[in-house]
């Protein structure tokens, strides 16, 4: 019920790799537009998808679900999702939920692009 939460999303490309840089909170009210954007990018691209968390302040379980969904979509086409540049408290969410064991997480965007 966070009021006025918005998720700005910018996109860059590096060769075949699409880099998504969302900003703000990925929570119950922004998860579904986030999901739509990611799935559209996956459909329109052909390489890996890098999600840069540099400007993400918060991610809820609804947001984690979107990443899983994106990972599944990409895997089905033999592609990868790579996450990067998480703040400590965001990294903690991935660690506690165990998703850091399933999703590739790198310290910087360049590392993520190299790994993609």
């Amino acid at each position: 019920m966070a009021t006025g939460s918005v998720l700005d999303l910018t996109t860059e490309t590096e060769g075949d790799t699409t880099v998504v840089i969302p900003a703000g909170r990925i929570d119950g009210s922004t998860a579904s537009p986030f999901q739509e954007s990611l799935l559209k990018l996956i459909e329109g691209g052909k390489g890996s998808l890098v999600v840069d968390f540099e400007n993400i302040e918060y991610i809820s379980s609804a947001g984690l679900r979107v990443l899983l969904l994106a990972a599944k979509q990409l895997q089905a086409g033999g592609r990868k999702i790579v996450l990067c540049a998480m703040r400590d408290h965001i990294a903690e969410v991935f660690k506690i939920s165990g998703f850091s064991e399933i999703l590739a997480i790198h310290p910087t965007r360049q590392d993520a692009i190299d790994a993609g």
Binding site: M1, A2, S61, R65, F99
Partner: protein
């Protein structure tokens, strides 16, 4: 939730204002038809207005019977077969959503009064001034649009709140109604659902005289889908746990079933442990849930070492691991969901684990039911009136000794 609501409202608005407005003109003067069509030709061409014509009240009712799209009636008073006042009476009784405008002779106050008393929305006088008629039509249509919008919003809101109620009822129906306790241990738990239910749950599983299973979980997302997933998870866990198996095996079993064909990628963070009050041993497995706390007598608080397992429903075939903890007499285990630590206070600051731990340190000698309510109090005090955005769940178990 605000998103859904805004969508619902804008859809309702679009529906209320979409398409041409159909107006039925009822008059026994046949010339009027041509005049109306001529006068409003531009708006007819722009597909804003559509006119239908009838020559007396009965014909009008027949048209209305076969055409649900008519939203406004403009009627003369003096007509053969069924006059305008009789038509108004019928409209008022059978079609409350239609607005009618009456056409009367100038100065005919008796008929105008009767018409208004029978529910006419407005009147125009003869001979018809078409500019005046147009203003009256627009005024009536504006009123109609507002009424429809209000009705439509109300219906959408009712539908949404029904869905919220369903999720809430589902969640409430599976929560423990009593808190197991013996001479060796006691327990307490509470869950306060958010307005949009978040899919939290907890459970106590009776495992004979000495043993008890404790589960706490949090499903991703909110509303009915989360509540359904939660119920499936809770039932699966119970069915396995009641056989007295190991926590890691129970979670593996639940995980495989939830992960099978899980197109939506929903998941649940689930902690399950079995406490043996005969020995004080607590075996547990943590599927991606916030680490519970061990509160010692004297106020030392530690997080239970994680088993590094992943939330359930994601990785089919995942092998879960198990940790063992030896409790001492007086030790308390405290389990919670992130609705506690992520409660937001003024300035979007989160309550956080440090504040929770600091409070728990002062509750080392407090009864379990007081512990859960003190934590809830702390959350509410901290939130200081901010809306509760997620379910709040806390569970306490204290070992009283052998």
């Amino acid at each position: 939730m605000p998103d859904n609501l805004e969508e619902a409202i804008s859809e309702a608005l679009a529906e209320a204002t979409d398409g041409p407005i159909k107006i039925l003109v009822v008059d026994d003067e046949v010339d009027l038809e041509a005049l109306v069509l001529q006068k409003f030709r531009r708006r007819i061409r722009r597909n804003e207005l559509v006119f239908e014509f009838a020559h007396n009240g009965q014909e009008a009712m027949e048209k209305l019977d076969v055409d649900d799209d008519i939203s406004m009636v403009i009627s003369d008073i003096n007509m053969p077969v069924m006059d305008g006042l009789a038509l108004l009476k019928q409209l008022n009784e059978t079609r409350p959503n239609i607005r009618s405008v009456i056409v009367s002779a100038y100065g005919d106050m008796n008929n105008i009064r009767t018409a208004m008393n029978r529910g006419a929305f407005d009147f125009v006088t003869k001979p018809i001034d078409f500019n005046d008629l147009e203003i009256t039509i627009d005024k009536t249509l504006k009123h109609l649009a507002l009424v429809r919008e209000a009705l439509s919003n109300r219906d959408q809101l009712v539908a949404l709140s029904r869905e919220l109620d369903v999720a809430r009822d589902m969640q409430a129906s599976v929560l423990p109604r009593s808190f197991p306790s013996t001479a060796r241990y006691n327990t307490h738990g509470l869950m306060v659902p958010a307005k949009e239910v978040g899919g939290d749950f907890y459970d106590f599983v009776p495992l004979g005289e000495d043993k008890i299973g404790v589960a706490i979980g949090d499903v991703s997302g909110k509303g009915v889908p989360a509540a359904l997933f939660m119920m499936a998870c809770r039932t699966l866990l119970r069915s396995h746990a009641l056989e007295g198996g190991r926590p890691d095996e129970a979670l593996a079993y639940v995980n495989n079933l939830l992960a099978d064909d899980n197109e939506s990628c929903m998941f649940v963070t689930l902690f399950y442990g079995v406490f043996d009050s005969g020995s004080g041993v607590f075996n547990y497995c943590n599927g991606g849930h916030n680490p519970p706390r061990l509160v010692h007598r004297g106020g030392q608080v530690t997080a239970l070492p994680t088993t590094r397992d992943v939330a359930l429903g994601v990785l089919p075939g995942h092998t879960f691991s198990q940790e063992t903890l030896q409790l001492e007499s007086g030790d308390m285990l405290f389990f919670y969901t992130d609705g506690v630590t992520e409660a937001e206070g003024p300035g979007s600051e989160e309550l956080g684990e440090d504040r929770l731990d600091a409070l728990l340190a002062t509750l080392d000698d407090t009864s379990c039911d007081d512990v859960t309510s003190r934590v809830l109090d702390q959350v509410r005090e901290f939130a200081a009136g901010n809306a509760q955005s997620d379910d709040i769940t806390c569970v306490a178990l204290r070992y009283l000794g052998g």
